[in-house]
Assembly symmetry: C2
Homo-oligomer: 341 residues x 2
């Protein structure tokens, strides 16, 4: 282990000691369960309330259940987990606070909008590689109904949605990162590229794909440069929740850098729903979208050996009701994590 | 450096390689400038708008100015800073997003309510000690007017305040953590204790001191146990923003553990204002309260050699407008950082 060799290029880090995704769990809502990835999720709800009385509590339940199941799969108890690294989209991250309280584990609360899953895996990996913990749990969530209330209007208002809008995923993904794989085929986190805030002045808060695409493009360009790799060094380069509109923007932006990721690109937001049948417009979004997809689908492909190395890039749109009402644009941020079989 | 010796007790970490607070900067509003610590702050505003048109933009300006000045004092440019670790109290952390964008530095957004300053210093220290960065900047802020709007009512409503209420500090503190001290007397971060969410069921959202005191008590008890130290091993044990009401609760709670910190206790919220003259009720609070006090006053005492070792414990109340309106209690969290001369 060489401390000085850990910093790679301008924005990246090499995880040069074993950091495994020892186990993970996913839980989603009814609509997500009816989508193309439906069969892969660990748990699917029937009414999106998950036994709670409010949408916010329902989202807390998502985190609670995902963490419980992930620890169970890892064969670890809460006492063995050194840190929780967690976040959600709600003001003051209340889904996290009220969902994780009962575990009685030291908590680092994070906010990176829908990029938070990547942020949590990045910080978690560094805490393990630095010797500060042996096991941590990273968890993020979103809920369609709590997010609509938080960012737009309560569902009861029956607001209309433009075609470029994405559909916030009701779901959560939890990941037990560990220095000890615990099983034969646990994927490893081997590198991290941390994103900057990128603002192209997009003011349409329904078109979050376009707001986040510049951050994703910047992250991909910097990542490939830092690690001196080509897009084809990855079996998949997977963005979080750009959706169909944001994907087009991403491809256009990358062309300016002479980078073509089309042959290996996948977007969790596009995979999550059958947009035409399910009426989800540009695709899925939210902290839970890429987290649930990573757990249910991406890690499975790595564990089965179908993929050897992926670059996983959750993308976030940095806005609030207040910033929107005060006329601000929607900057984006993206966090990249290299996961290898 | 021994990886295995870094984890201390149940919730703590030893920072066993040099992590210095190389430089810091503080900026506060007019009222804070008129308080007992007024002479120590680097900058004091005249109208609390800091040249902006909205309170939220004013808070962004606080972060921007604090970071700019801290980097200047450290003799470092933005290009030399590997990560920003930052947060604020507003929904979706917009003061941070719009305040830090221009620096073009990879960002980890954090949310721990008013404990975020401690969270940022904790994660920042571990990133440096782990060899993942040589210089990082930690910054947090709060603004009286943006916080009142976010958590209670816009100032224009002229709402009344109960005596147990605290007064959100308009201010920000930024800290350049570095593996290279850059000067003779830079204080060092030598240990960290990370807090859990602690919920005593307090439902009075004006009495945040009492909501946070249990988390602070739990943190202090665990910290002293993990490091096998006594309260008097510290020149000061400094809580973030419990205020006068929370302080009383803290002392009562610690009595149950047979711990007496009275001789060395200080609370940034109590120090910030002359409550009787300035009408600030229980004292100052907010992400900016302990951050500005750490930069302006606490680090100065360490640099002058008046204090040799302090335990700095920012405290946070985990609530939102929504959680309050849905009848939730206000759990607390606290993050402890050991700083030595």
């Amino acid at each position: 282990m060489g401390q000085n060799t850990r910093q790679v290029g301008l924005q990246s880090v090499l995880i040069d000691t074993p950091v495994f995704i020892r186990a993970s769990a996913s839980i989603v809502g009814k609509k997500e369960g009816e989508g193309p990835l439906g069969e892969f999720f660990d748990k699917t709800g029937t009414d999106d309330l998950f036994g709670a009385k409010t949408w916010e509590d329902a989202e807390s339940s998502l985190q609670k259940e995902a963490v419980t199941l992930a620890m169970e799969k890892a064969g670890l108890s809460a006492k063995e987990i050194r840190y929780l690294l967690a976040g959600d989209l709600l003001g003051q991250s209340i889904a996290t606070s009220f969902g994780l309280m009962q575990f009685d584990i030291p908590l680092f609360g994070l906010y990176g909008a829908c990029s938070t899953c990547g942020e949590s895996l990045s910080l978690g990996s560094m805490l393990l590689a630095g010797g500060f913990a042996d096991h941590v749990v990273c968890v993020t969530s979103s809920h369609f109904a709590s997010a609509e209330k938080e960012f737009r209007f309560p569902l009861g208002y029956g607001s209309q949605r433009p075609m470029a809008a994405s559909w916030t995923v009701t779901g959560s993904g939890a990941f037990v990162l560990s220095t000890d794989s615990g099983k034969r085929n646990a994927p490893r986190i081997t590198g991290i590229t941390t994103g900057k805030i990128v603002d192209y002045g997009i003011k349409d808060t329904f078109n979050m794909g376009c707001a986040m695409a510049p951050a994703a493009a910047d992250l991909i360009r910097q990542h490939l440069q830092d690690f001196n790799r080509e897009a084809t060094d990855y079996d998949k380069i997977i963005t979080g929740d750009l959706g169909t509109v944001g994907k087009t923007a991403l491809m256009d932006l990358l062309k300016e850098y002479q980078i073509d990721i089309a042959p290996v690109h996948m977007d969790c937001g596009i995979e999550m729903f059958d947009s035409e049948k399910q009426g989800t417009d540009a695709g899925g979004s939210g902290c839970g979208c890429c987290a649930a997809t990573l757990s249910a689908y991406i890690l499975r492909k790595l564990e089965k050996g179908d993929w050897k190395r992926v670059l996983f890039i959750p993308t976030g749109a940095l806005l609030s009701k207040t910033s929107f009402n005060e006329g601000k644009a929607v900057p984006g941020i993206a966090h990249g994590v290299v996961i290898e079989a």
